[in-house]
């Protein structure tokens, strides 16, 4: 606000001085010019009367000639002072209007307003840097979870798009360069409510700068940074960035899973692809020969992964990348039939289109499908705006780097145990995932299950903690039963139980809970309220444990304990 005020006064200096001078001259003139009073005697205005006349004349109110009719000399001076003061006013007002329309001033006002709204946030909020595909997804998902966000993007158009979108809660959107530390501070980086910084711009260099600035300016707030290049990721990790998200590495990981443990892949992909993810189909990529178009860093990484798995790969590339093409590769764009035929597309099993151009990718796949309708088709989607095209092309798999980044960040934000769960389940057999999918799958139509971490403590689950304090045994089973009818099970699935350094995958119902345990639950949104009842209400917990429905709550139960 101060900046606006200072700018205003700086610009208003000349008009204000002009106005004061005009009034002073007009007032002075009236006191000096002789008039005639009602008796016909010579009369001169006092300073007070003169100022009165100038005041109503200058503001064009015009009460007339007060207190006595003016002499011709006074009328002459009135004409002069009218033009003097009115022009001074016009000058002042036009300066104010020009100031309000001045882009600098509007920017300062807008900035001050945003800063105020950030300061007014009194709940944890995330700073989203970059409102591209990933940033928009994250902002929407977080807003729908009642999480506050602040958005920074240097592109005015994106900020305008955000402003007209309906996000439920107000999202302060700064149009500024997130690489500048000062701007991050303005967006609330050093606020005690800042829960994390999500650096998801399209440029590695920008993400790197945001990460290092955030780490230096507020080491408590976790940083989630996207890194497309391996060198950037290593650099980010070197100064302690909390979560580095590499879409390339993640694609390799999922490809490996898809080829080795199909159900683990389906589970992982479903749980970590944002709130609108759909469960991937059961048909999995074939093991035969693959054709890979585009030998860019992502292509190189995927090629390496496929080779490690013993899959035969033919590469098509136009040679524009620095990396040396492996022997047997075919030079060309892959968008024309001859190139694809050269790569023996007829006896290939799958084709991956990985170029940086969405139109090329689609063209490659459609041409390839015409040549060999049995192909497994997978593409990299570079811009989210092209998604309808990819959907319409009915591909077998669409790799969306922004979605992968956003999905991973969302899972990690909503529960820090998720990463541990994924690491553990990857080491397990495919069977484990298949069973989990079966248990979770019946709600698949309503989107992926909600992940939630429950902690056994007095603050997060008072009912359980009190029961444990009283020396009673609470089994994990109790938290999975319906508090309205204990015979029925809630549709929640405990995925992981963490106790100190130990973690159990898919813990059984007969594990006794201990204070300090953390349990990762997956279940539909509707189950959350029932689970809350069990965690917070003694009566509900007691009912599912013992089958007795005793009246009264905590108050009745505690009173005898206090009196004894």
């Amino acid at each position: 606000m101060n900046a606006v005020l200072f700018l205003f006064f700086q610009r208003m200096r000349v008009p204000l001085i002009t106005l004061i001078t005009a009034y002073a001259i007009a007032t002075l003139g009236f006191t000096l010019i002789p008039g005639v009073d009602d008796q016909g005697e010579p009369w001169r205005m006092s300073v007070f009367e003169a100022f009165y006349v100038v005041s109503y004349t200058g503001s064009t109110i015009g009460f007339g000639e007060v207190p006595y009719p003016f002499s011709p000399a006074q009328r002459l001076w009135t004409i002069a002072s009218i033009y003097l003061t009115v022009i001074a006013w016009l000058f002042a007002i036009s300066t104010i209007i020009a100031l309000l329309q001045d882009p600098t001033c509007r920017q300062v006002i807008e900035h001050a307003r945003l800063q105020r709204s950030v300061r007014r946030i009194k709940e944890p909020f995330y700073i989203v840097c970059g409102y591209g595909d990933a940033g928009a997804l994250l902002t929407h998902a977080l807003s729908s979870r009642q999480q506050r966000t602040v958005v920074i993007d240097s592109d005015r158009n994106r900020i305008d798009r955000l402003i007209v979108e309906d996000l439920g809660a107000s999202v302060p959107a700064f149009c500024m360069d997130a690489r500048v530390p000062e701007n991050l501070i303005e967006a609330g980086l050093q606020s005690r409510w800042c829960a994390g910084i999500l650096a998801v711009t399209g440029s590695d260099q920008t993400n790197l700068k945001i990460a290092i600035n955030s780490k230096l300016l507020n080491h408590r707030a976790p940083v989630y940074a996207r890194a497309d290049r391996r060198a950037t990721a290593a650099n980010m990790r070197s100064f302690g960035t909390d979560h580095v998200l590499e879409p390339g590495v993640e694609f390799c990981r999922r490809l490996r899973l898809a080829l080795t443990a199909a159900d683990t892949f389906r589970l992982h992909h479903w749980l970590s692809s944002g709130p609108h993810a759909t469960l991937p189909g059961a048909e999995m990529p074939p093991q035969g020969r693959w054709v890979l178009c585009g030998y860019n860093p992502l292509g190189q990484a995927l090629h390496q992964t496929l080779e490690d798995l013993g899959v035969d790969v033919t590469i098509i590339d136009n040679g524009a990348h620095d990396a040396k093409l492996p022997p047997g590769s075919i030079l060309g764009r892959g968008t024309e039939a001859p190139t694809l035929e050269e790569a023996n597309i007829h006896d290939a099993q799958a084709i991956l289109a990985l170029t940086h151009d969405d139109a090329d990718n689609l063209s490659i796949l459609i041409t390839a499908r015409e040549l060999n309708p049995e192909l497994f088709l997978a593409a990299r989607e570079n811009a989210g705006s092209n998604h309808p095209l990819f959907e319409a092309a009915e591909l077998d798999f669409i790799g969306r780097p922004s979605l992968v980044v956003a999905g991973l960040i969302l899972s990690q934000i909503s529960t820090p145990l998720f990463q541990k769960f994924i690491d553990l389940i990857e080491a397990e057999d495919n069977e484990v995932s298949a069973r989990l999918l079966e248990r979770l799958g019946h709600t698949a139509d309503a989107g992926p299950p909600l992940l939630r971490t429950v902690r056994i403590s007095h603050r997060r689950s008072p009912a359980v903690a009190r029961a444990l304090d009283d020396g009673e045994e609470v089994l994990l089973d109790a938290l999975c039963r319906d508090p309205r009818r204990r015979q029925a099970l809630l549709p929640v699935v405990p995925l992981l139980l963490n106790r100190g350094d130990e973690s159990w995958l898919c813990p059984g119902p007969d594990i006794a809970l201990v204070s300090g345990d953390r349990i990762l639950f997956a279940g539909p949104r509707s189950a959350a309220a029932q689970l809350d009842k069990l965690l917070f209400m003694d009566r509900a917990l007691n009912y599912v444990r013992t089958g007795e429905d005793q009246p009264g709550g905590q108050l009745w139960r505690r009173r005898p304990a206090q009196s004894s």
């Binding site: 900046a3 200072f6 700018l7 205003f8 006064f9 700086q10 208003m12 200096r13 204000l16 001085i17 004061i20 001078t21 002073a24 007032t27 002075l28 006191t31 006092s46 300073v47 007070f48 009367e49």
Partner: protein
């Protein structure tokens, strides 16, 4: 934000700067006019001219506007002292108007004394402005 206008550090800090001349002129003129009005027997209306009060008030207002928008520490104190001057002189003018035009008491020695003492307060604030301005100027040259 860069500082512009009088009183701020500019490239021409050692040479003549028209902005600074005008600024110093108004601050000094406010003091001298104020002093001129203040001078004389405190309760004698003949020693205190209404035009001098009027001029002191107008120049004081102009000096205030010139100090507006200064972001330096010394600029803030200058603005504050200038606002005090305006307040005191406006109070003096209001007392004058009340006595002469509103209540018909006239310029009795008691009324005149209170007007002049109010302008005396303004004089003190004006003096402070000039001292601060001088201090700032010398500190720049050092």
């Amino acid at each position: 934000m860069t500082q512009t206008g009088p009183g701020a550090l500019t490239d021409e800090e050692n040479g003549m700067n028209l902005g600074k001349v005008v600024f110093g002129f108004f601050v000094l003129l406010a003091l001298t006019l104020n002093f001129g009005f203040f001078l004389g027997d405190i309760d004698n209306p003949d020693h205190h001219n209404v035009y001098e009060l009027f001029a002191a008030l107008v120049v004081g207002l102009i000096a205030t506007v010139m100090k507006l928008g200064e972001r330096s520490q010394i600029g803030a104190v200058l603005l504050a002292s200038s606002l005090v001057v305006d307040l005191q002189l406006i109070a003096a003018a209001v007392v004058w108007v009340m006595a002469v035009h509103v209540t018909d008491v006239g310029l009795t020695p008691a009324v005149m004394a209170s007007i002049v003492s109010l302008s005396g307060g303004a004089l003190l604030a004006n003096l402070l402005s000039v001292v601060l301005l001088t201090l700032e100027t010398t500190s720049i040259n050092r």
